[in-house]
Subunit: 278 residues, 2 copies
């Protein structure tokens, strides 16, 4: 069965841009390697020129000839025919970090938004780091307190760009001590798996299968079988009780079946078996 949509490359922020650039290389490989046509969307950042130039530099350094950047500062520009054309021509689209609300505010519901979803369904690779990672899900974490125990009030959520359903994504995860806020998010709707992605670490998602690459780990927080939660009784600033959360720590080489909520300890072996059986 052919893949219905292109791969998502969801990066936990601070990906290596000066050394081997393994995550960005993998992103480009998925979309044509040196023949890739990379579009860097800098809408999340208030420094689009600087951030755009940095990504042009790194993508060119790893061998991509065709790298462009795209930015808008008002929604009208996200309805322009020229913008749609840039998206239609790209094989890899990458969202930089910044503020995830800028992405949804400036692009949400525009023609660019529709063109991005069409591109994704056509098989185009979509990537994003930090804010560009958060916005991938249907409900995204907008902001929240780190280094605290879970309480409903410590996490702010908003609609995301809906490239990946059934998940809530957090980034800079171990580095900023964000377990409490991710637990607060999934506690509120345990249908959502919590994906906590470390810095310089990414998940590649295809057909509801997730593969981990990079230097850190991905924490998967599954509150689906929680045996007790006090969410219905606590005030927003009170401490959450959560009993029986499943936690999976997945470094590179591991994967996860998002629909079955099952870890894949050895991704290569799993892929090999799957290919043999198909």
């Amino acid at each position: 069965m052919a893949s219905q949509s292109g791969p998502l490359v969801i990066v936990g922020g601070a990906e290596d841009k000066t050394g081997e650039c393994r995550i960005l290389r993998r992103f480009v490989e998925l979309g044509g390697g040196k023949h890739a046509r990379v579009l860097v969307i800098t809408v999340a950042t208030k420094l689009p020129v600087e951030v755009g130039a940095e990504y042009i530099d790194v993508f060119q350094r790893i061998g991509v000839e065709d790298v462009r950047t795209f930015d808008v500062s008002h929604r009208d520009a996200a309805n322009a025919a020229s913008a749609i054309q840039m998206i239609e021509q790209a094989t890899c689209i990458y969202f930089t970090g910044g503020d995830q609300l800028r992405i949804t505010k400036l692009l949400g519901g525009t023609r660019v938004d529709a063109a991005l979803h069409e591109a994704h369904h056509r098989g185009v690779v979509l990537g994003g780091t930090s804010a560009g990672a958060s916005m991938m899900s249907s409900t995204m974490i907008v902001d929240g307190q780190a280094e605290t125990n879970p309480r409903p009030s410590i996490v702010d959520m908003a609609p995301g760009m809906e490239f990946l359903d059934g998940c809530v994504i957090d980034q800079h995860f171990a580095q900023r001590g964000r377990l409490g806020r991710l637990l607060s998010a999934v506690a509120q709707y345990p249908h959502h798996l919590g994906l906590g992605i470390d810095e310089d670490t990414a998940v590649i998602v295809r057909d509801h299968v997730l593969q981990v690459i990079g230097r850190g780990a991905v924490s998967i927080v599954d509150a689906g079988k929680v045996s007790y939660s006090n969410l219905d009784r606590v005030r927003r600033d009170e401490s959450l009780a959560l009993c029986g959360v499943q936690l999976h720590m997945l470094p590179e080489g591991c994967g996860f079946l998002l629909r079955d909520r099952k870890p894949i300890p050895d991704f290569e072996q799993w892929l090999h078996r799957k290919e043999l059986s198909s």
Copy 2:
């Protein structure tokens, strides 16, 4: 059945000493209230005079008349008859923060060590905060990197004072992003439950039953039923994979059965039922 040993009050550091002092009050209540004879052991800190004076002040302020401090700077002093006498006279013994290795190095195997265990078995309340919390277990976390994904090399362990078996304790837990290091500790011996205690939060342990009090939460990390771990294959600096860790977030009002590895969502209700059935 009478309790075999006195309660342990294990505090995640930074307990309130200027406001309501709820944790320190509870500690004192367990050992006689205003008639308690409190001994503060400052062996962990290099500032025993300052830290000792601070605790004398706070315990006196909450109504304890008899507060003493005890410190040693060499092991000989921990074999002195006067030291044993101080321990024998106390109804509440509290270990301050500092460096947990100072506690085991200076007290381990001395007559004071034996007297502390005798006191504990006699029913005396033993408390400890931060370093004084870490040392409570048989194997203690000595040091380790925070805000990182789990790897064997990020946690250093050593023998603890053995007041509580079957557990490894970490403190300042959410505040310092220490999930990675606690997972690294329990991954190495999943018989140990990981207790991650937040600041101004404590567990009271009696007869293998744990009760949570304070402002934050206690994270209980149970790797007993891990379905996959790569611990046998990773180098010490490589990322650990751990699938199927059970995580319980327990704020005040909750408890935990350490032997059965089961959370108690409502401690008061549980206690009431237990009393009815006994």
